[in-house]
Amino acid sequence: MSNWILYGLRRGILTTRYPQRSGTMPAGYRGAVTALNAPLEEQRAGITACLSGALQEGSPAARVDALRCYQCGECARRAPTAFAISSAFEVARLRRRAAPFGRSVHVRHVDAGSDGSEEQELQAIFNPFYDANRLGIFLTATPRHADVLIVTGVVTHPMVDPLRRAYDAMPHPKSVIALGTSACSGGIFADSPDVVGPVDAIVPVDVYIPGTPPTPLSILHGLAVALGRAVPAGGAMP
């Protein structure tokens, strides 16, 4: 017979102190792309390798749409003078903070057409290494009890109505987080006629957390941004 209490005690405290203390990803983690000053011809090898159209020519540096980047690293590998990829994980962008939340929020998740990895990373924020419960973040089964709606995936045609109904069923004030590059912008499906589009084509989005998939630390950061406890990346959004 297992003694799980002893088992847990033997492993000690695994939990990160993030966001009260800083967190880190390993050095080689492909987090966020930055454009370096480089002539157009050096930019092109990277731009043409981007399947999601996240990169555009620009002067003195290319323009990067962080919400479209799916972190493949092709641009930095093919055009190292024009693009660099860093291990940054605090990538959440804030469009508006609709809801003045207090200490604790309840979160409902809806999968609108994900690749299945976003769900596993969202699940991971409740594992002992991240323990989102310590931050007052709890899952709820019904949108009626939810303060925050986290949506994963590019929105497919059959998920439009279920997504809208889940949003409508939530009480005010409410906040919506688009989780993952596909949810934020459509990602590699951004220009596909076979899907409806990013989450904000259907419901208003407050916080965008890009990533393929976003790491658990990125998700914690995005939640903290939604709750007004952390600074978003990249300043104000249009």
């Binding site: 799980w4 088992y7 799916y70 299945g116 497919t156 499906f189």
Partner: protein
Amino acid sequence: MSAAEMRGAREVAQRVLSRVRDGARLAWIFGDRVGDRTVLRYVVSGEGGLEEYPGSVLGPVPSLAAELPAALWHECEARDRFGVIFEDLPESRPLVDVRPAEELRRADSPEVSTILYGPIRSGIVESARWIVETAGEDFISVYPSMFFKRRELERRFTGVPLDLAAHVAEHASGATASSHAAAFSKAAEAALRLEVPERARATRAVLVEFERIHQHLDSLAKLADDGSLSVGSSQTFAAKERIHRLLAQATGNRFARGVITVGGTRFDAMSHLADVCDAQLDRLEAEVLAVLEALFSTQSLLDRLIGTGKLAREVVIAYGAVGPVARGSGVSCDARLRDGYLYTPMAGEESLESQGDAVSRALVRRAEIVRSFRSIRNALDGAFAGEFLAPARIEDGFGIARVESPQGELLYFVRFDGGIARVALRSASYANWPLFVPSLPGNIFTDFSFIEHSFGLSQAEVDR
């Protein structure tokens, strides 16, 4: 072979039926367009490997589903997507087109209620719907209504440059991205008759075995959670987290995305993997084995799994199921024993159990995790010198290949005509979902999640 020289699909269907009667497994039927002709491609897994039988669709095609349940979803999808008419197809409802809820209520007895369970369900789960007819605790009938997540991923490959296309395959199922990238790449390499450097083959094997470990842990952690074993579940998720951390350090992504490509790997991931494993693999393995030991000595959890979601061996064979679901019922189907290996063919016996219930499937996963660590060490100990990428050039033709993903055999078809003309995939989850229905009779409503998590399937790779 041009479509004009091809046999008719009627004749091919008969040939396939006789191959299955001889003991081969029907793996796949899918539509393709060659010129202006619709072609049905039948794929069976026989003793010698995969066999592909193309047949021109000239008129109605006899349905194999009445005799072979394994054919049902494939024929429905070919009907829905390619307009193929199957004679006597036992299912008239559409498979891939989601119908409005009003059309689905069909219980005609006042004691029986129809519950539409999904597409949004409680917890963090992928979207799928189950239409459940119940008179209380018992399942009267259950019908899967899926494809809510249909992104038309197979079409997204069209026109994508060969050296970027594996990124699209990784989007089929992000949690098993390495398996998808490896299976897609193998199919393309088969079409192009491309030899992959040993170093790259070893890298792919290491990544897919790590993937198997983290996905099996995911399934076991969810089973523990279903059994209200919250510390056990948390500690199993913690063990899974350690794998993702190792992969992030070695490959730059927690699911090892962006490594595998046609011809090898995109960068020399093996040198990073070797360093990271050298420092961490022993401790990681000890942690994973410790949590497995603790889980499988928690009798309250095992009691909940014993006898739950039982599947007889004959049913598994008739449905053509694969992976731990099939092996839990004693059906041998590990692609790594056959042509589905990535580095070296799997040595020795595969992990089989005979009871066919949820605990059997969990035991298969435990044995496979232990074996995966061995395979990782074997690949790391292998040849290290040499290139990691062979240059690939597109030539017209097609290839089919398989890889043993965590959920089971994963098949890809790639056809080149100038560029990428058609990619199709048959995931293990697609092969296994139909079997969920016959696993339910005799169980009660609260067994649903145990059975679902003992299957451990992904929705994204089904809906595509």
